[in-house]
Subunit: 112 residues, 2 copies
């Protein structure tokens, strides 16, 4: 019996390559944005509570980024959809993906 849920779908080698490159692109954008944000945030730190808030923020960002860009997840339509939703990727950058896969990513990205 063929399972056909989104979690277990087979990705072609071409789709895998496109997804991995898209992920790499999104990772570079998101981490560069974080560096700029921290440069700016840290210059506004004036007391120890600001420092601990910055620390909490970095811990949560790290957890989020480490999880999102886990390479084992590069062929997840959910991760791709999340990156599109967060604007680290555009749907155009997923051109070349199997149309049904791209359509799923697009539909998921529109969900709130």
């Amino acid at each position: 019996m063929k399972t056909n849920t989104t979690n277990t779908q087979q990705w072609s080698q071409k789709d895998q390559k496109i997804a991995q490159e898209a992920l790499k692109k999104a990772y570079t954008r998101e981490t560069e944005a974080l560096v700029a944000e921290i440069n700016q945030k840290a210059s506004q730190v004036t007391n120890i509570n600001d420092i601990w808030a910055l620390s909490d923020y970095l811990n949560s960002k790290r957890y989020n980024i480490d999880g999102k860009y886990d390479t084992r997840e590069s062929t997840s339509i959910f991760v791709l959809a999340q990156l599109v939703k967060e604007r680290w990727l555009t749907l155009d950058e997923l051109t070349g993906l199997t149309p049904s896969t791209k359509a799923k990513v697009s539909a998921l990205a529109k969900m709130s």
Copy 2:
């Protein structure tokens, strides 16, 4: 039976007050220095590895500071000695402590 180890020694109210004020002073100095340090460090952050290193540094600082300034420990000669050793307090600022207690703090602070 009277226990007489350094951990269970009785502190007079006067000693407790002196220790608590010294701790407060050291806390203000150490946290102000950390704010200045983070302002400076964060301006030099240029990539995501620097960000994660900053995050690790803040986590370790928080663990260290939260532990050191735990108010339940304000009458610990070990905490006072550590603060003297780290130069957040001077021995002069412990003037008024029972001489034997101050002498213990001084001796501990000299140990490496």
